[in-house]
Symmetry: C2
Amino acid sequence: MNRKELVNQIKEKKSFLCVGLDPDLAKMPECVKAETDPIFAFNRQIIDATLPYAVAYKPNTAFYEAYGIQGMLSLQKTIQYLHHKNVFTIADAKRGDIGNTSARYAQAFLSPEGDFNFDAITVAPYMGSDSVSPFLGIPDKWVILLALTSNPGSTDFQTWENASPRLYQRVLEVSKQWGNEENMMYVVGATKAEMLKDIRRIVPKHFLLVPGVGAQGGSLEEVCLNGFIEGEAGLLINASRSILYASKGEDFAEAAAAEARRMQQQMAAYL
Amino acid sequence: MNRKELVNQIKEKKSFLCVGLDPDLAKMPECVKAETDPIFAFNRQIIDATLPYAVAYKPNTAFYEAYGIQGMLSLQKTIQYLHHKNVFTIADAKRGDIGNTSARYAQAFLSPEGDFNFDAITVAPYMGSDSVSPFLGIPDKWVILLALTSNPGSTDFQTWENASPRLYQRVLEVSKQWGNEENMMYVVGATKAEMLKDIRRIVPKHFLLVPGVGAQGGSLEEVCLNGFIEGEAGLLINASRSILYASKGEDFAEAAAAEARRMQQQMAAYL
């Protein structure tokens, strides 16, 4: 999906909500756990319920790999199901390796012929340019590079005070030369919303994927105040646990829809 | 496998060679490609041929994920095969995410109950402490943290001159407090052998996993000169392409054995 198509979806649904599909069997109701493939059954119902309110879905690969081969089969079914829904799909995989190896990850997650075929993949920047560039250059596919993450450990290196500019600023400055606003986005945690103004000075036009609203405590309002791009949002705000597990009962899908709708309505005010 | 057991293997085989199992169908002989599971058939023959000369095996997950579910099944068969060989096994996965998500990756790759159950996993440090700590604390399992990698892009951030100390030094200094020499190793590329002396000042006792000898041009001698720990090596030197594809003909396994033996004999001189 290219930028124009993504923006059209955002305008149509009046939403820039991304739903993080991070399945956790321990949190699912018994009726789902009784299914042959409980993870896919759960995802399918979450997707159906939230589709009017979300423009993107982001399975985090860790939650599938944790269930071994069976989990990867559930991921495959999930992405195949999403292909029919006209939504932006993100493999939250945080991959990255030397050039010839990153090319294999690109094949795994972005190739139209592969088992997964996502629109975008999250990539970790530590190994530098040749670890990221193999993901670029596939038509209508995207790299979403980690810049400033939402977790406590982000202060260890990303905002470490002995680097000037800070490492996350360096990552933005250098990496924006590797791609462009049509094939790169950045991960910026909602828990760091006050730093978004500064980030927008470096990357005024790139889409930002913003996790950390919901369970991690970030504020949707603050993110919009500091990061919104007029007319096209320029943001994909992700919520995972707050939507998926809004109820742990049999009404989980209705509860997920209600929470997604609540967020979408907040977003609509900005569009 | 704990440190004592690993050192025993090193002393017994007079080797600290790690074989990188990075299967590439395009480089395999026709006789292998005709097998039902060519990747596993290739790996099995490589393992059998190199086992007298190697103490560790390191499948890079990218080369399996690139072949989708089928590739992951080949990886599962490979690790199960390695479990019977008394060798140190490394998932070269370069994972890392927020705490609750890294815990899922630990479950995927290190759990004795999981489909993969490796001794160690490579982890990327960008997200900091809580992205790494979930991998620690499992008995006899290891984190191998990226410090200074062998690729050209390592200069973008790892050795960036506006950070003092350099980022890779910061990573070593901070992260060595998260674990200890019994559950953490570091990736240091052989192409950066001249920096090993400095690295050994920061982490004198940690094992280092050293890729980049062979196809990438690093020197085994220089690595040993600057990084060797008396009596126990403290190094795992990895070679992938130079062993796997020493011959692209039907004699690939014999050629791999010869190359592994050549490296082992160089190593024996230091032990």
